[in-house]
């Protein structure tokens, strides 16, 4: 990825990645908390940490529930944290629909755990400064989220 606007800002550099296990509802969320703790150790301020953690958690739940497993990668620049969450799952058929609050394909099991209310992607968008979603049926889903440091 090239530097934006030619302002010479450094592109975020790879820091660490975490494996997300598909269908493991008991462990779901642990990767996001590990990522949060990593950034806390780096010295991130609490309000940014919270946004990063919420984005990571919602995305991780999606990968666990729908994506069949995948990966969360963390990139850092002095001004931005970038999260890339990818899976090899079925992909999202109608992205516009999936971005609407309340639209969900969750199973009863997911709902019993307190998820699957159709809030995940809208909540990710709300907490991010830039969001890119690459997805197609049968080709998995890749979210790239950037959150700027204050």
């Amino acid at each position: 990825m090239s530097a934006e606007d030619g302002q010479g800002e450094a592109a975020p550099e790879y820091l660490q990645s975490f494996t997300i296990v598909g269908g493991d509802f008991a462990a779901a969320g642990s990767v996001s908390i590990a990522a949060k703790n990593l950034l806390k150790a780096v010295g991130f301020p609490a309000p940014v940490l919270r946004r990063v953690a919420i984005v990571a958690f919602e995305a991780e739940m999606n990968v666990v529930m729908y994506g069949g497993g995948g990966e969360l990668a963390v990139y850092l620049s002095p001004t931005t944290v970038r999260l890339v969450i990818s899976d090899q799952g079925p992909g999202i058929g109608d992205l516009e629909l999936a971005m609407q609050e309340g639209w969900s394909t969750a199973t009863p099991q997911m709902r019993e755990m307190g998820f699957g209310a159709g809030m995940g992607l809208p909540n990710i968008k709300k907490n991010s400064d830039r969001l890119t979603i690459d997805t197609a049926p049968g080709k998995g889903t890749r979210l790239q989220v950037e959150i700027d440091l204050p």
Binding site: A28, I33, A46, R50, A56, G116, A117, P122
Partner: protein, 124 residues
Amino acid sequence: MSPTISQIKDWLDAEVLTGSEALERSISMAHSADLMSDVLAFSHSDSILLTGLSNPQVVRTAEVAGILGVVFVRGKRPAQVVVELAEEYGLPLMVTNLSMFDAVGLLFARGLRGWSLVEPGSAA
């Protein structure tokens, strides 16, 4: 109005399951939900969470959202693994026999508020 978790425990006649070392934390808002997505979307940090769910995701959601303590209503006790997870995060867990409605009502009567009244007009 920023009561401590310890005061909330007394008001709700609740039992502490873990995190007794963190009961002097001040709480600025309360949030009640069984929908964790709702907690992630609307709750604020420095809040207490009241819920009828007791799975590990409640504890992880609280940790992610910066929630300072969790109260399980209707006498719903989480499994030991859930208590241990909270212990790992230093998150106080309590259980009250009150219903969600009654627990929330008692806290409201004592002056605690949720985000929609603390920040009127602030669509989350």
